[in-house]
Symmetry: C2
DNA sequence: CGATCGTTTGAGTTTGATCAAATGTGGTGG
DNA sequence: CCACCACATTTGATCAAACTCAAACGATCG
């Protein structure tokens, strides 16, 4: 990881540009080479998790801020009787638990959906960021506010939209998010979910997910096979799901580049 | 408002203690007299909104951070066809739009449910806080993370719980939040909502809200009349709604006082 | 004292859940 | 390479929670 700094000579603007968090924060602001290097150097102890493993558990007192480097993870909460609600998906560049930095204790869990590489930034590093790099600090804060905006939109999804609309909306959201990190090829992106997990995301039974998917397929809007989702008609899908990308807050800052 | 500093001589620990934001942040940390004074002095331009008025509208570029001083407000989002989802309730001490400070543009609206007093803290004041008062800054950040935790729990509510459970859970949440700001008297608190608004919160039709309420009433759990909610049996209500207060993150810090 | 808004009740419908079984599919060990 | 196992997907049939539509009833207010 530290070897990336070797790229400095070749092209100063590329320091840490392959680091997923640096890439994400660059959507919000232009990070200085020093800031980028600080993030890269602070990312230590990369660990692997297998599909299904918990990365952070409810009740944990964190020992640092975790960051998805590679793979696909999800936040979730369980009710006592076993019902599960998925609260968010985490893709490369997303932070797991900046919450715990201030809230002290996790009120939900995070698990890996596929094999996932997770980096840890120590609590002291984050503290140091907030002292030395106000611009970087704002970028991190921005990342948490973005998470919140997505969370709010999920409330709308669950509260107001029908099964079709929910599913269409989710697929649109992930299309935009995956494209923003360069993970859409053609019209496809990797979506390593079972239909049951989709149901736990959308508040639907697995049976109903299956039928809804079949309908979306038969209408030529998407296909979903082998953990890959392909969007055949994005505008139609957006319209069906009442999707408007503004809540993802790509835009203003990014355009300025 | 500035006259509150006159209390300094009498009891130094009480500077700004009646200021709702100071009171809220004190749940997280012990603010110094200087920090408390800074918050009180920064709170300018208090304005009134009537029930139904928008306080902040979707698309707004903010001109400062707004703060509920008195009253009851709510975040909401509309779909193009008129469906409305309420995303959060705001009680005295809650911040409206710290989001916009970094996200630049509101992706949802905020309206007053009753007559509501709103204070504004200028953007430059907040910036000054982040430079001079790291402890206060952390407290503000904590407040936004708490909002997010509540938002996540609402996802669980909408995605996994039945109509009864949803309603029970919401009433429990507000009971705890209102009690934390000293607004529970006996077992009652002011909840100035129509049944339609309750429905737009819980993802239910107004008719179904009415019937669910009747059931909760007839089971002796709550009554809801004239904008006042009374909880007759909190433990039973918590059990019915699978409510666990840990996500509200009262606790650790507060206990230390 | 209408007018307006909110609540309540009734009847019929729909969406999505549940239960159960059949059909893929991918991986593992013999 | 096949047999088998564990899981995931698919289909069918039935059921229930919650919605819609419509109308009546109650408050509150100029």
């Amino acid at each position: 990881m530290a070897s990336q700094t070797g790229a400095l000579q070749a092209d100063p603007s590329s320091v840490g540009s392959r680091h997923p968090l640096v890439r994400k924060l660059s959507n919000f602001t232009v990070l200085s080479a020093e800031e980028r290097e600080a993030v890269v150097n602070a990312t230590a102890r990369i660990s692997d998790f297998n599909a299904g493993d918990d990365i952070v558990e409810r009740g944990d007192l964190t020992g640092g801020v975790r960051l998805v480097i590679e793979g696909f993870a999800y936040r979730y909460k369980l009710l006592e009787d076993g019902r599960r609600q998925i609260l968010a998906y985490l893709v490369p560049g997303d932070l797991c638990d900046l919450h715990v930095f201030l809230l002290k204790r996790m009120d939900h869990s995070i698990a890996a959906m596929t094999r996932t590489k997770v980096g840890i930034i120590s609590q002291s590093s984050v503290l140091a960021f907030t002292e030395k790099y106000p611009n970087l600090t704002r970028a991190l804060w921005w990342a948490t506010l973005l998470d919140e905006a997505i969370t709010r939109e999920w409330i709308v999804n669950l509260g107001q939209r029908t099964a079709y609309e929910r599913m269409a909306h989710l697929f649109c959201e992930l299309f935009y998010r995956m494209r923003a990190i360069g993970q859409v090829e053609g019209n496809s992106y990797s979506l390593p979910l079972t239909q049951t997990a989709l149901g736990d995301t959308l508040g639907l039974s697995n049976v109903h997910v299956n039928r809804t998917l079949q309908d979306l397929r038969s209408q030529g809007l998407v296909s979903f096979k082998g953990g890959v989702l392909t969007v055949h008609d994005l505008p139609a899908l957006e319209q069906l799901g009442f999707f408007s990308a503004d809540y993802l807050h790509f835009g203003a800052e990014t355009q300025r580049k």
